[in-house]
Symmetry: D2
Subunit: 352 residues, 4 copies
């Protein structure tokens, strides 16, 4: 039984980790870390866990925690982990970081987009970007530090990856229009996230400046084999969970001057996802809907060719708290400890 | 492995049964019955099951089905099961009926409230009212026919049961004001259930005439040891899942003329629920919220004494598709086959 | 043209006042008061007013304000107005107070339920409770101070008033189960009011202790001609606007031992409301829905007799920000200045 | 006083027309046409109009109607108006068609995208595309037939128009990602529009094939001075009202090789919209939100330059039932009869 510590257990992603781990056969939570609620009963804060959990919140002392558990999930604000991480900790425990601290390989890029100094750049190189479907071979029992991908990022990358990787689209024409449920904004008490402000409304935000942009560019750049820039626009949607990414790119014509066919693009998706447990390439003509993946670790993807404009419209949907955060983190944990990759992740999507 | 057939698998309650049974270790669905979608792929209708289920919908031939499975769930319109049930079928399979056909012992009462003729009253007496927390000793491996309680009914009864049973309230003063998410209205295409009609609105319906009234009166009447009448008012709420019942009743004064204390009422709740896996009596002062039980088989209950008016306000919350329908049906199945009562029902409530 | 000042213009009720007054022919807003946003452009805070209003927020100096306008609306926290009111101010301007400071005639009752000391009890007697449909004759051009009724209160009182006033129900059996949209909770940044906490959930709150209780009891007590106690339970509903009150009371039998008929109860409602512009007694069998009054100053009411239990179920619906706050305040202003009572209040309910 | 007839008065757009016209000083509705509800009381179907309207629904006999009113609004399914229109009718009344029958000048294009035969192509040339901000000079008291623009179209065109017209972007790179509330799907009873199917979900639909595409291409083609093709993707959002369009296009570099500045693009927007009553160009950095225009005839627009990718991100928001349908239709009526263009359209956006 793996002993688990969570720092940031009282945020939405942290609570989702708890929900998932409660049904995980090989893991047991030892530490519910939360700076804001120290000594409060965890089930008083998240009453869904009443009678399921009887534990008080502890703090965020990584050194102490490292000596008590086998793996630490940090669902913390940007900069926290980079500020406290050291070799001693990494020698004792594995760390799965749900923040962005170790996602971006280039420090200058990180500091530019996040507008904070990186306090432990020496660990960036070692950190493995934990998008299992693409980096599975690097997430091994030897790995010490996982940079768990962002919610928008996971959806955006997996939706376009096969076509970028196979050179079927021009990656510099990529435009990602993403829509997210409000849980992505966290549990902080801010006026713009009040029910009456979000409900019955929709807006874009962080236009051209959202921090997930460089993460998407870096990872899809690896697939493209070159540096790329993309447009990424997030939107806030009046629903709790779910991200839908609609992506546009110009198709690369074949030598004969024609566009690749549906079957050719489908083959690219199948090449990478046919055997994947958590990526579902939908039937022709079916558009992903966030509700069909809610509560589960699935990503649903599909695409439509538009010969009139020479573009392909790609779509992907996932639950931002599961595959976009806690579910993917557990998927990484499973690989780190040699468990079945799907252990604890058999939640069937809940509809309606 | 118990073989399961579902008639009405394409309704919301039927789909929830499927969601639950997919993670049930002892059961396997053999028959997805649906009059409306015969020969269509089940996962084309409920896309959450894509890649999880590969089966076409079959019809509603109970005779054929009875020879192929061990247990049949009927999530069907009122009158269906009563119209086709016979001794031969009951000799072959167990039946868990999610409709109201066998819930009410008095045929005249059934026919008056449901306004249809009961076609097989001979089986009413045998049918066990499957509210496990109250009738557990009657749900045995010998039982052939379960009348699975209604959603409003389960919530309404469990919320008031201990105080009625212990004679702490006057049952004839009981007023039940219940609020339900819209999935309770089913998946039929009706204008009043369109998004734009339900969203941003709230209303009562079926005032003084809702069919769950006699079911509540019968069951709480058993607890009271006499016939009772209650006011029951259902309301439609703009949310998918969840029922909240707010119940009012006059407290019976003690011989010394004082009202029973919080501790005395709490003791009554604990007497019946302390050991129950799926009923949670909340801490003093905490009001049940539907979101804290969403997706799970829990009922959360609590109460507040109002000495000013001499009444107690009782509150209960459950997920209408789980404890109010499919979850309770699986709980009954577990008892019918001697499984752990909680098998397949370990879904942790999902928040947010 | 009447000059208007608003203190608390940046709360939801204040903003609704602004929305209504912009289309009022006889009034012009001179002062947008807001302690939190002084010197900020009002339309930067409520962007619906962009290009409609070009004014900066001012403070809450009542003395200065009193010399610049003809009427002041105070949409402020409890205790504010009582803390600053004086004879000098009242000699200069009329005041319509949307807080509870002057609603309750008995200071001890106010202080008990609101848990604050009343700082200017000397004005309580003079204040007129501005429920126009009932107190219209007291809202005159001579009146200086209006206590604008609460949102729950307006709905709860108007729903039951005719039956209480006519002695058709026993007022001490009255149980009010009220449901409110979330705008009633205000624009303060609190975790329980975040979108993800409210959406897809429902709960009761303030059970037996909500501050609108004594206000309801006082006003319905006047109608009953005696002191009464009632149960009042508010609930939070995942919608922006709207209050629905479902009310239960025991019918008084007629001398011949029968219950009053539908026609007799209807006559009572018509007696008080047939000529009212903003109260609509719905057709027999139609239940009020909050959506049908959204954005308007209407209250829709109706009732159903339950001979089985001897009770009547009364229902009322209004928009908490309009008839429940700002609309009613403008209705009072119209009477105070001798305008057409409906001036500025011709907003047609918006559906969907 | 202009006499108005509405065909399709019981659809959502028809009901919104009624809501607006009730407060219009120069118009009076004489005919509530509805094939489905003939002889039913209009206020029984839309209860928001209870006590405001006392009229029964009439049919869709255009010939009879033409002799009784001055203007007819047809809020009808595609093909209806084209199927019944004739010279005689047009000689008697003005017609404002909210369907697409006369929006597209090229019959073949219409028939290809709408998949129906056009029954009266002879009137297409005469019909004026009623996007007042762009075609105001063609909407005169001489005009007989208005093709009222589509909801997505109005939003999509107005958002990009200044930059296309001024040649600041390459129109063939235009990608329109649009999101709509569910009222755009109409009041027909269809399973995909049920509350439980739409709520808590988001999806694209009609990808590459939505019928508003050729309408956008035609109108923006006029602005560009050439034929263009665009990508247009509509999405369904769990809210009642509102359309948000997020649009992407490549900026045309200036002769010196630099991109146009914020000020240069802003000047283009101001050139066309500074004097427009219903188009608001927001302050720099403010993204349009659908809630800020709800219930009003406003379109809010803004843009962000992305020098990294050489694109501009344009955003527009409107209420699909007002500026996207009924409000714009009334705006056209005002011009057709020489009224103040804003008469009846002074509804202040409702927030929250």
């Amino acid at each position: 039984m793996v002993k688990v510590g969570i720092i940031g257990a009282t945020g939405y992603a942290g609570a989702e980790l708890v929900r998932i781990l409660l049904n995980h056969k090989e893991a047991q939570i030892e530490w519910f870390g939360s700076r804001s609620y120290i000594d409060e009963n965890y089930a008083d804060i998240y009453r869904n866990f009443f009678e399921l959990i009887d534990a008080d919140c502890l703090g965020d002392n990584m050194d102490e925690l490292a000596s008590r558990v086998d793996v630490i999930f940090t669902a913390t604000p940007q900069g926290f982990l980079a500020g406290v991480l050291n070799e001693d900790i990494l020698n004792k425990v594995k760390i799965i970081d749900l923040s962005a601290d170790f996602r971006i390989k280039d420090v200058a890029t990180y500091e530019k987009w996040y507008k904070i100094e990186h306090k432990s750049p020496q660990f960036i190189k070692e950190a493995v970007y934990g998008l299992c479907e693409i980096n599975r071979d690097k997430v091994t029992t030897q790995t010490r530090l996982i940079a768990n991908p962002g919610c928008y990022t996971t959806c955006s990358i997996l939706t376009a990856y096969p076509l970028v990787k196979e050179g079927l689209i021009d990656p510099d024409t990529l435009i990602i229009d993403a829509k997210s449920g409000t849980s992505g904004a966290g549990r902080g008490a801010k006026t713009p996230n009040l029910f009456c402000e979000v409900n019955e409304s929709m807006k874009a935000y962080g236009v051209t400046t959202h921090r997930h942009t460089p993460e998407i560019e870096e990872q899809l750049g690896y697939a493209a084999g070159k540096e790329i820039t993309v447009n990424f626009t997030p939107h806030l949607v009046p629903m709790n969970r779910g991200i839908l990414a609609t992506e546009y790119a110009t198709l690369i014509k074949k030598p004969d001057g024609t566009y690749p066919s549906y079957e050719e693009l489908k083959a690219a998706y199948d090449k990478y996802y046919a055997k994947e447990r958590f990526v579902r390439v939908l039937k022709k003509g079916v558009c992903p809907e966030t509700k069909w993946v809610e509560g589960s670790n699935y990503v649903d993807v599909n695409f439509v060719i538009d010969e009139r404009t020479g573009r392909v419209v790609m779509m992907g949907a996932l639950d931002n708290l599961v595959k976009g955060a806690a579910g993917q983190a557990v998927q990484n944990m499973n690989l780190l400890f040699g468990f079945d990759e799907a252990e604890g992740l058999s939640m069937v999507p809940m509809f309606p």
